[in-house]
C-alpha cells in the first residue's frame, strides 16, 4: 500500500502490537489472555506490516518460514507435555518451579512453555495462510 501515513505509522503500530501480544500471552494464566489470543494479535500485527511493506519484508523480518515457526511451536507444546514423563506423573501434568531472579520470585512452568507453543503455532500457521494469500503471481 502506497499511503505515506500508513507506511510511517505501521512500524510503530506493529512493534506495539507484537509487544502487546507477548504481554497478553504471558499474563494469560491469571488475567484474560493466553497463547491463542496473543498469537492472533501477533498475526494481525504481521498482516499490517505485510500490507504496508509487502510480503517479502515480512518474510525477512520473521527470519524463519512461518510453518517452521508453527512446527517449532507444536514441538515445544508436545515436549512440555512429555516433560512430565521424566517425573513419573501422567502426560501433560503441569510442573512448576519458583526461581528467585533479582530478588523477585518468578513462577515458571511447563504450562507456560505449552502456552508459548500454542502461541507459536497460531502465529506460524495463520501468518503462513495470510502471507501465501497476499503474494500474488510470484510463488
Amino acid at each position: 500500500m502506497k499511503s505515506l501515513i500508513f507506511r510511517t505509522i505501521a512500524p510503530v503500530i506493529v512493534s506495539v502490537m507484537v509487544l502487546f501480544s507477548i504481554f497478553v500471552l504471558l499474563r494469560g494464566h491469571n488475567e484474560p489472555g493466553g497463547g491463542f489470543i496473543g498469537g492472533l494479535i501477533a498475526v494481525a500485527a504481521l498482516s499490517i506490516y505485510g500490507i504496508a511493506f509487502g510480503v517479502e519484508t515480512v518474510r525477512r523480518a520473521i527470519v524463519f518460514h512461518p510453518l517452521s515457526i508453527a512446527g517449532a511451536g507444536l514441538l515445544l507444546a508436545t515436549l512440555s507435555g512429555l516433560l512430565s514423563m521424566l517425573f513419573h506423573v501422567p502426560f501433560m501434568t503441569g510442573l512448576w518451579v519458583y526461581p528467585v531472579i533479582l530478588g523477585e520470585e518468578i513462577p515458571l512452568s511447563s504450562v507456560m512453555t505449552f502456552d508459548i507453543g500454542v502461541y507459536l503455532v497460531v502465529v506460524g500457521a495463520v501468518t503462513s495462510i495470510a502471507l501465501s494469500l497476499e503474494e500474488r503471481g510470484e510463488d
Binding site: H29, G34, I37, G117, V118, A130
Partner: protein
C-alpha cells in the same frame, strides 16, 4: 531370569532374529540358515521343558500388565493344546529355515526371506500362546500380514502379487470377524482371558448372543483355515516359494483357524449349532478339496488342495461331538503337519532339482534321487493312513469316531471315506508317480538334493514313524493333554499300531481299496473332474476378482459423485447436513424450545444488538463482495462486544482478533481468486443458498434456546473454580482449562491449526493446470487401456 521372563524372551526371539537375519545372511550367505535355525530350536527346547508339567494336566499361565487402565494384559496360556502347537511350529520351523537355506541359495533377497519367515513364526507362536483376546487378535492379523509378505515374496510376478493380496483380504477380513466375535464373547462373559473364559461355557451357551459370537468366530476360523467357500486363497498362495508352502500352508497358518475352534470348543462347542455347522462345512471342504486336488497336475497344487481337505476333516472332527472325535482331530492334526510338511518339501526338491513340478512330465527319478524317493514314500504312507506310520493311527481314530450306525454318522462316514480315498490316491501320485516308471527328460538334469534340502523332510518323515512306534509315550505326553484341553475335560488316547478288528479297520481297508483304484485310474478321474469343473465354469476365485472389481467401480462412482471438485457443491452438502442435524431431531423427538421470555435489556446492549442485525442485513443486500465482508466484520465485532458486556473477556478478545483477521483473509482470498467484485447470479439461483442459510441459522438459534432452557449443571464450573487456583496455580479459569485441565485437547487443536496451515499453503500453491482430473482414475478406461 525366571521362567516368565524366559518365556517372554522365547516369544520375542523370532522377531529379534528377523532383525538380524538380513545382516547375518549378508555375512554368511545361505549358511546363515544353520545359525538362524537355532532360534526356533531354542524355542522348541524351552517349551519342551514344560512337557512333563503339562502332561500332569496343569496349565501354565504368565504375563505382564500391558494397558492397566483397560485391563489388557500381555499374557500367555500354555496347556496341552498350545504346547503341541508351539512344538510343531518351532520344530517344523527350524527344519523349514534349514530347507529355505538350501532352496533359496544364492537368491538376492534370501536375508529378507529369512526375516519374513521368522516374523511369521513369531506371530504364529504368539497366536497359539495368547491368553488375552487382544493379543490373539493382534497376532492373528500379524500372521495375515507376514504371510502376505511371504506369498508376495516374488513380487515381480503379477500372479504372486495377486495371491498375496487375496490371502491378505480373505484372512485379514476374517480377522475382523474374529475381533467382532471376541468382543461379543467379552460382552457376554466380562472376561478378556481364555483361561478365565473356559469355565464360563454354560453362561456363553445360554446367552442370546451365543449365535452371533459363534458366527463371528467361525467367520475368522473358516477364512483362515480355508474352508469352502473361502478356500480359494490357499491354492493361489502356492505362488510363494516352496518353503513357505511347506510351512504356512501345511503346518501352521492354515491351522490357526482349527486352533481357534479347538481353543473355543469348551466355550462354544457341544451345541446343536456347533455340531451342525462345523461338520457340514468341514465335510464339504474335505470332499471338494480332494476332488479339486485330483484335477491338478502341479505337485504343489495337488498338495495344496489336499491340505484344504485335511483342514475340512479337522474342522469336521472338532465339531462332530461323538466319542473319539476330538482325539481323532488331535492325532490327525499332528500326523498331517508331519507328512504334509515333508511332502511339500519333497515337491520343492523335485522342482529344484529337475526344473518342473508337473506330474505328467516327471518319471523314473528313483535312481537319480533315491533318498528323496524314500522320504516321499514314507510321508505318503503316513498320508495314505497305512501302518506303521502315525497317519495310520490318526485314520483309525477318525473312523472310530464315525463308526456308529445312526444316519448322521453314516453320511459323514461315506463322505470321509470318499475324501480319504482321493487323498490316498494323490499321496501316491505325488510320492510315487515322479519316481516310478521310465526316466523322463526334465528341464534340468536330475540329481540328489544337498543336505540342507533333504534334512527337513527326512526328519519329519522319520518323526511320523517314531511317533507311531512310540505311540504310548506320545499319547501320554502330547495327545492326551491336548485332547483334554480341547474337550475341556480329562480324555485319554490309547490307540496303537496294533490293529483292532472292527468297523474302523473295515473302513480303512475300504478306503485303501478305493484309493488304489483311483490311483490306477487317476488320468480318467482327472479328466472327469476337469470336464465337470469346465461345465460349472464359475468359482469363488473368479468371484473374488469380480467382487474386487465391483468395489473399485463402486468407490469410483461414489467418489465422482461426492468429490466432484466444485467448492459450491461441497459447501451446499456440508450446510444441508448441518441444517438437517440441527432441525430434524428437535421435531422428531418433540424437544423444541419453549418461546423465550424477553428480558428487559439496557439501552446500550439493545443498541449493540441492533448494530449486529444491521451488519447482517448489510451482508445480504451489499452490492459488492468487499462491502459484504466488511459488514460481516461489523456483525462479528458487535457480538464480541456483547460477550464483553456479559463477562467473557477472553471470548470477546479472541472474537475481536478472529473478526479482524477474517476480514483481512477473506479480502485476500477474494483478490487471490480473482472473483468478480459482486455476485451476478440471478435471484432464483441464490434462493436455495438463502434457504439453507436460514435453515442453519434457525436450527442453531433453536438449539441455543433449548440449551438455555434446560437446568444448568454446575458440576464442571464448580470444579474448575475450586481447583484452578489451588491445583493449576492460575486465576484465569478459561486459560487454565485450555493449557492445563484440558491441555491434551489443546495439543490436538494446535496440531489441527498446523495441518490447516499446511493444507492452505499447498492449496494456494496448486496450479489449476497441474491437477490430475478425477476422471483419469476411471477403472473402465484403465482396463481397456491395459
Amino acid at each position: 531370569m525366571n521362567v516368565t521372563d524366559l518365556t517372554f524372551l522365547a516369544l520375542c526371539l523370532p522377531f529379534l532374529g528377523a532383525l538380524v537375519a538380513p545382516l547375518l545372511t549378508k555375512m554368511l550367505g545361505h549358511n546363515a540358515a544353520w545359525v538362524l535355525a537355532l532360534i526356533p530350536a531354542a524355542i522348541f527346547v524351552h517349551f519342551a521343558g514344560f512337557t512333563a508339567e503339562i502332561a500332569q494336566g496343569t496349565a501354565i499361565t504368565g504375563g505382564y500388565t500391558w494397558v492397566p487402565s483397560f485391563n489388557v494384559r500381555f499374557s500367555w496360556l500354555i496347556d496341552g493344546l498350545s504346547l503341541s502347537f508351539i512344538l510343531l511350529i518351532s520344530g517344523i520351523g527350524a527344519l523349514i529355515v534349514l530347507y529355505a537355506g538350501g532352496y533359496l541359495k544364492g537368491h538376492v533377497h534370501q536375508g529378507r526371506f529369512f526375516s519374513f519367515l521368522l516374523m511369521f513364526m513369531g506371530s504364529m507362536l504368539g497366536l497359539v500362546a495368547s491368553d488375552s483376546f487382544l493379543m490373539l487378535f493382534i497376532f492373528w492379523e500379524l500372521t495375515s500380514i507376514t504371510s502376505f509378505l511371504l506369498i508376495g515374496f516374488d513380487h515381480h510376478r503379477e500372479a504372486a502379487r495377486r495371491a498375496a493380496f487375496q490371502a491378505l483380504v480373505v484372512t485379514g477380513g476374517g480377522g475382523l470377524f474374529l475381533l467382532a466375535g471376541l468382543i461379543v464373547l467379552w460382552n457376554i462373559s466380562g472376561v478378556t482371558q481364555f483361561s478365565a473364559l473356559m469355565a464360563l461355557g454354560p453362561v456363553i451357551k445360554a446367552s442370546p448372543l451365543y449365535l452371533a459370537a459363534l458366527v463371528m468366530v467361525l467367520g475368522g476360523a473358516f477364512t483362515k483355515s480355508a474352508q469352502f467357500p473361502f478356500h480359494f486363497w490357499l491354492p493361489n498362495a502356492m505362488e510363494a516359494p516352496t518353503p513357505v508352502s511347506a510351512y504356512l500352508h501345511s503346518a501352521t497358518m492354515v491351522k490357526a483357524g482349527v486352533y481357534l475352534l479347538m481353543r473355543l470348543n469348551p466355550v462354544l462347542g457341544g451345541t446343536p449349532e456347533w455340531q451342525l455347522i462345523l461338520p457340514a462345512f468341514g465335510a464339504a471342504t474335505l470332499v471338494i478339496g480332494a476332488l479339486l486336488a485330483v484335477r491338478q497336475t502341479d505337485l504343489k497344487l495337488m498338495l495344496a488342495y489336499t491340505t484344504m481337505s485335511s483342514l475340512g476333516l479337522l474342522v469336521m472332527l472338532t465339531g462332530f461331538g461323538t466319542p473319539y472325535a476330538i482325539e481323532a482331530a488331535v492325532l490327525y492334526l499332528v500326523a498331517h503337519s508331519l507328512f504334509k510338511g515333508a511332502l511339500f518339501m519333497v515337491a520343492g526338491i523335485i522342482d529344484h532339482e529337475t526344473g518342473t513340478r508337473d506330474v505328467t512330465r516327471l518319471g523314473g527319478l528313483r535312481s537319480a534321487m533315491p533318498l528323496t524317493f524314500a522320504i516321499a514314500l514314507a510321508a505318503a504312507i503316513s498320508m495314505g493312513g497305512l501302518p506303521p506310520f502315525f497317519g495310520f493311527l490318526a485314520k483309525e481314530e477318525v473312523y472310530a469316531a464315525l463308526s456308529s450306525f445312526d444316519p448322521r454318522s453314516i453320511v459323514f462316514a461315506i463322505l470321509t471315506v470318499t475324501g480319504n480315498a482321493l487323498m490316498f490316491a494323490i499321496a501316491f501320485a505325488v510320492a510315487l508317480k515322479p519316481f516310478a516308471g521310465k526316466p523322463v527328460a526334465t528341464p534340468k538334469h536330475a540329481h540328489e538334493a544337498p543336505v540342507l534340502l533333504w534334512l527337513g523332510p527326512a526328519v519329519l518323515a522319520l518323526a511320523g514313524l517314531a511317533a507311531a512306534v512310540l505311540s504310548g509315550t506320545i499319547h501320554a505326553l502330547f495327545s492326551t493333554p491336548m485332547a483334554s484341553a480341547i474337550a475341556g475335560e480329562p480324555r485319554s488316547v490309547a490307540i496303537s499300531l496294533t490293529p483292532q478288528i472292527g468297523v474302523p479297520l473295515a473302513l480303512s481297508v475300504l478306503t485303501i481299496i478305493i484309493g488304489i483304484a483311483l490311483y490306477i485310474g487317476l488320468a480318467q478321474v482327472r479328466a472327469g473332474v476337469a470336464s465337470a469343473l469346465a461345465w460349472i465354469g464359475w468359482g469363488p476365485d473368479h468371484g473374488f476378482d469380480q467382487a474386487i472389481r465391483g468395489l473399485v467401480r463402486l468407490s469410483f462412482a461414489v467418489t465422482r459423485r461426492l468429490q466432484n471438485g466444485r467448492l459450491g457443491s461441497y459447501m451446499t452438502m456440508t450446510f444441508v447436513a448441518i441444517a438437517v442435524v440441527l432441525l430434524v431431531p428437535p421435531f422428531l423427538f418433540g424437544e423444541l424450545a419453549l418461546a423465550p421470555v424477553f428480558p428487559s435489556i439496557p439501552l446500550h446492549e439493545l443498541a449493540i444488538m441492533i448494530i449486529a442485525v444491521i451488519g447482517l442485513f448489510a451482508v445480504v443486500v451489499a452490492k459488492d463482495r468487499l462491502t459484504a465482508i466488511v459488514s460481516l466484520g461489523i456483525q462479528g465485532f458487535s457480538v464480541a462486544v456483547i460477550f464483553l458486556l456479559y463477562g467473557a473477556p477472553d471470548l470477546a478478545f479472541t472474537q475481536f482478533m478472529i473478526e479482524t483477521l477474517a476480514v483481512v483473509i477473506l479480502a485476500l482470498v477474494m483478490t487471490r481468486l480473482k472473483l468478480s467484485p459482486s455476485d451476478h447470479r440471478p435471484f432464483r439461483e441464490t434462493l436455495p443458498d438463502a434457504a439453507i442459510a436460514i435453515a442453519c441459522g434457525l436450527g442453531a438459534g433453536l438449539l441455543l434456546l433449548k440449551v438455555t432452557q434446560v437446568p444448568f449443571d454446575t458440576a464442571l464450573s464448580d470444579f474448575f473454580a475450586q481447583y484452578s487456583k489451588t491445583v493449576a496455580h492460575g486465576a484465569n479459569i478459561v486459560n487454565v482449562i485450555i493449557v492445563d485441565f484440558r491441555g491434551t485437547d489443546t495439543l490436538g487443536e494446535i496440531a489441527v491449526v498446523m495441518i490447516a496451515g499446511l493444507a492452505v499453503l499447498s492449496l494456494v500453491r496448486l496450479r489449476a493446470g497441474s491437477m490430475r482430473r478425477i476422471a483419469d482414475n476411471d477403472p473402465d478406461a484403465e482396463e481397456t487401456g491395459r
